[in-house]
């Protein structure tokens, strides 16, 4: 799989390369460890979080992803293919139904992005840099384990990334239409999924039997992911409560961990966490006062181990109650809605779920996102929005103006921060976020004071 790296190199070069790889891998493990240690320091950390933190530790620190995804050495699980996915348009239902296991590969490591730096243009976003870095260097075995990788044609960088990745691994491009609501594009998308289904069948089938994705299997996997979504929605519901019971940076790790766990295990753990948090709500065991400014972290995804921004915001005394990234609230929100058990209906519903409600900015027009943000601001009682742009993510940055405009009408301040995975700018960011949070805090206290005066 690491064709390019290991082949055509003299022993000396290979040696040096190995050294560099070890160096990066050590650093990655160290930074992941630091983030996890910081999370674990919190005395209020819900017990249910340990499962999710552990997943991250296994994947990034100990590099033992194998045990996570294929826990038993049982014959049937051992032969299972692992399929890497990028973005959120790849229907995991189909992958599970084909008997394979999906893992989401969008990369969040600074170290990996440094490797990627040499392979892609300078202005590419760090997610793509890190993903390419991970794949080309095999920093962790997760990327090497994937038998195939599915890359949807979303933003420019992701699309070209697919092409670059094909140097290292088997890549299937998945064509996502950029205009959602025309009938033609929807039909084409459905056809794409039928093709994907066929490819998966071929890929996972044994040599001659060519196992098909059966109706029952697909129904089961839709339900399995549906349960995960139900639990994810429960978590959001809890986070809507007036005084928070879980920190945003913790909740986001829990969601992020879905990328590297099987849906079934993850759902079990999430159910436990939700039960625990609901009990906290009942007991009034809040982690901060209701005066704490509530932040919506908009746009780009914080992806583990790049926990720089979520940590900063919450260290400055705000709490992230929601994010709209495709690694966060959006990851497991929209469900597949079935009314009957025919293959047609299942495929149509899956196609609908992955295309229509998706508010990835690579779609245009993307008015839906504005509606979604307004609704979130209302539901989660948002005091301020931090608009997190990763350097190079033009499409999210493009939409800033519209978001600012609608939020101005709602009197919700928006702070745009642009950064990448490095920690160079952390002091400067700290100052800006601190000022913003302070402003929100004052505003909130004042408005609460006037409210109590009036009553």
């Amino acid at each position: 799989m690491n064709k390019e790296i290991s082949q055509n190199k003299s022993p000396n070069e290979a040696d040096q390369l190995q050294k560099r790889k070890d160096h990066f891998a050590r650093n990655l493990a160290r930074s992941a460890k630091t983030v996890l240690a910081e999370l674990e320091e919190n005395p209020d950390l819900p017990l249910g979080m340990h499962y999710f933190i552990n997943i991250m530790r296994e994947v990034f620190v100990k590099d033992r992803v194998h045990q996570l995804l294929l826990p038993s050495l049982h014959q049937s699980t051992n032969n299972r293919k692992i399929i890497g996915t990028y973005c959120i348009m790849v229907p995991e239902e189909l992958i599970y139904a084909a008997g394979a296991i999906p893992v989401r590969l969008c990369g969040g490591s600074y170290e990996a992005s440094c490797i990627g730096d040499e392979l892609v243009p300078r202005d590419t976003c760090p997610v793509v840099k890190a993903s390419i870095g991970f794949t080309s260097f095999n920093l962790i075995s997760l990327y090497q384990m994937c038998d195939a990788v599915i890359v949807p044609t979303t933003c420019d960088s992701k699309r070209k990334m697919g092409e670059e990745l094909s140097k290292f691994t088997e890549v299937w491009m998945l064509e996502v239409p950029h205009i959602k609501d025309s009938e033609g594009s929807r039909r084409q998308w459905l056809q794409q999924l039928y093709v994907l289904k066929k490819n998966l069948e071929k890929f996972t089938g044994r040599r001659f039997t060519g196992r098909k994705i059966r109706r029952k299997a697909l129904d089961t996997s839709i339900k399995m992911i549906g349960s995960a979504q139900y639990q994810a929605r429960r978590l959001y519901e809890i986070r809507k409560s007036s005084a928070p019971v879980i920190l945003g940076r913790e909740a986001m790790i829990a969601i992020n961990a879905y990328s590297y766990a099987t849906a079934f295990e993850w759902t079990k753990a999430m159910t436990g966490l939700n039960d625990e948090l609901e009990a906290r709500c009942h007991k009034g065991q809040f982690i901060c006062s209701e005066h704490t400014p509530r932040i919506l972290l908009a746009s780009c995804s914080p992806i583990f181990p790049n926990w720089k921004i979520p940590s900063l915001i919450e260290e400055m005394g705000a709490v992230i109650v929601a994010d709209e990234s495709c690694m966060g609230n959006r990851y497991l929100y929209d469900p597949v809605g079935l009314t009957e058990k025919s293959m047609t209906d299942m495929m149509v519903s899956i196609a609908a779920r992955y295309l229509m409600p998706c508010v990835c900015p690579s779609f245009a027009p993307n008015e839906d996102r504005l509606f979604r943000l307004l609704q979130m601001a209302e539901e989660f009682s948002i005091d301020g929005i931090i608009y997190y742009v990763l350097k190079g993510c033009v499409i999210y940055d493009f939409e800033l103006i519209r978001v600012e405009k609608i939020m101005k009408d709602k009197n919700i301040p928006v702070l745009r921060i642009e950064t990448d995975y490095s920690s160079e700018d952390i002091e400067q960011l700290r100052t800006r976020i601190e000022a913003f949070v302070e402003m929100l805090g004052t505003k909130k206290r004042n408005s609460l004071a006037t409210k109590t005066l009036r009553f």
Binding site: K180, D181, E183, R215, K223, G226, S227, Y230, R233, Y333, D334, P335, V336, G337, L338, T339, E340, K341, S342, M343, T344, D345, V348, S349, A352, R353, M356, P357, E367, D368, F371, R372, L374, Q375, E378
Partner: protein, 328 residues
């Protein structure tokens, strides 16, 4: 009890009342905005308004027109009351189509969906039927030319209507399925009618509510959508454009999920079956109102229980909570 089950119950009861009610002396009158087809014979429990309309126009006398006015009034009252819920909840022919649809679903065969273009082109059919039902009876009444042809036409739309052939067949009266050899006119009309019937039966096995988009009764009912008491409403901000409501809709109404401005989403073809409300996964994105008061509302919990992801929550429970919240 889910709305779907409730609707099945309503459909079954009305089928018995309207098609077999005559057996126990039920007669609900001649102005029913639904396929209470008199061609089923003595067992009918009421009369389809389209039949009366054509019959009265065909008589053409002053008294007849006065009677028409009266019928129209009663008809309008009934339609204003519950709008096209007549189609979703009562129509016996809708019921027959739903049963055929159920058979398809039991065999796990997928449904067919016509492309937008085709659907738009077929939209004129119900208008053609409507004008046949409206204008030809006048010719029957005043046969200024070809009187023999006019005389054989009588209720022209009825001869074309699949209800005339299928509904009697359903209650075990195969005589209705026959070509009327009285004259060239009747032969043509009955052959056309039988063709439509066959198409509808096959169609309804492959496509949900196959006949309804072409039904002139549905067209009549849809004119009342602005003033009828039941309405479908959407909270555009809560809607995530997930398309679920489109996929579950038996008459494939796209506008409900595409609507981004108006609250009222009761569109022309909507049969008010409320499946979209039932299956919408967003709390309060869709709701049905009666005289402005919310009577049914979409809930996220309801969605997941219908997908059999969480154990079935008694519908009444979360509906009640949700409704109290809105009607406050």
């Amino acid at each position: 009890m889910t709305v779907t089950n409730l609707r099945w119950m309503a459909l079954i009861i009305s089928f018995f009342v309207l098609i077999l009610g005559g057996l126990i002396g039920i007669d609900l009158g001649g102005f029913l905005p639904t396929y209470a087809c008199p061609y089923v014979g003595q067992t009918r429990g009421g009369v389809c308004f389209l039949f009366r309309l054509q019959f009265i126009l065909g008589v053409g006398s002053w008294e007849a027109f006065k009677a028409l006015g009266e019928h129209l009034l009663y008809f309008s009252i009934l339609v204003v009351l519950i709008g096209r819920a007549w189609c979703g909840w009562i129509c016996p022919f809708g019921f027959v189509q739903d049963v055929l649809d159920l058979i398809r679903r039991k065999f796990h065969i997928g449904y067919i969906r016509f492309p937008e273009r085709l659907r738009a082109n077929l939209r004129c059919i119900k208008w053609i039927f409507f004008f046949i039902a409206l204008l030809i009876p006048l010719w029957v009444a005043y046969p200024l030319f070809a009187p023999s042809v006019a005389g054989d036409l009588r209720q022209p739309f009825c001869s074309l209507c699949p209800g005339k052939y299928i509904l009697p067949l359903v209650i075990g009266d195969p005589d209705s399925v026959a070509v009327d050899f009285k004259s060239a006119t009747t032969i043509t009309m009955t052959i056309l009618g039988l063709t439509f019937s066959t198409l509808t039966i096959i169609g309804a096995l492959l496509k949900r509510r196959f006949w309804c988009p072409y039904c002139p009764m549905g067209l009549l009912l849809s004119w009342y959508k602005k003033i009828s008491f039941i309405k479908l409403k959407k909270d555009c901000q809560k809607c995530t454009m997930c398309e679920v409501c489109y996929n579950v809709c038996p008459v494939e109404i796209q506008q409900v999920f595409k609507e981004r401005e108006n609250e009222d989403v009761t569109f022309t073809d909507c049969t008010l079956c409320l499946r979209c409300v039932e299956y919408c996964p967003e709390d309060g994105a869709l709701r049905a109102t009666f005289l402005g008061k919310t009577i049914y509302k979409s809930t996220s919990k309801g969605f997941f229980s219908r997908q059999h992801i969480i154990p079935a929550v008694p519908e009444e429970k979360h509906q009640k909570a949700a409704l109290e919240h809105t009607n406050e």
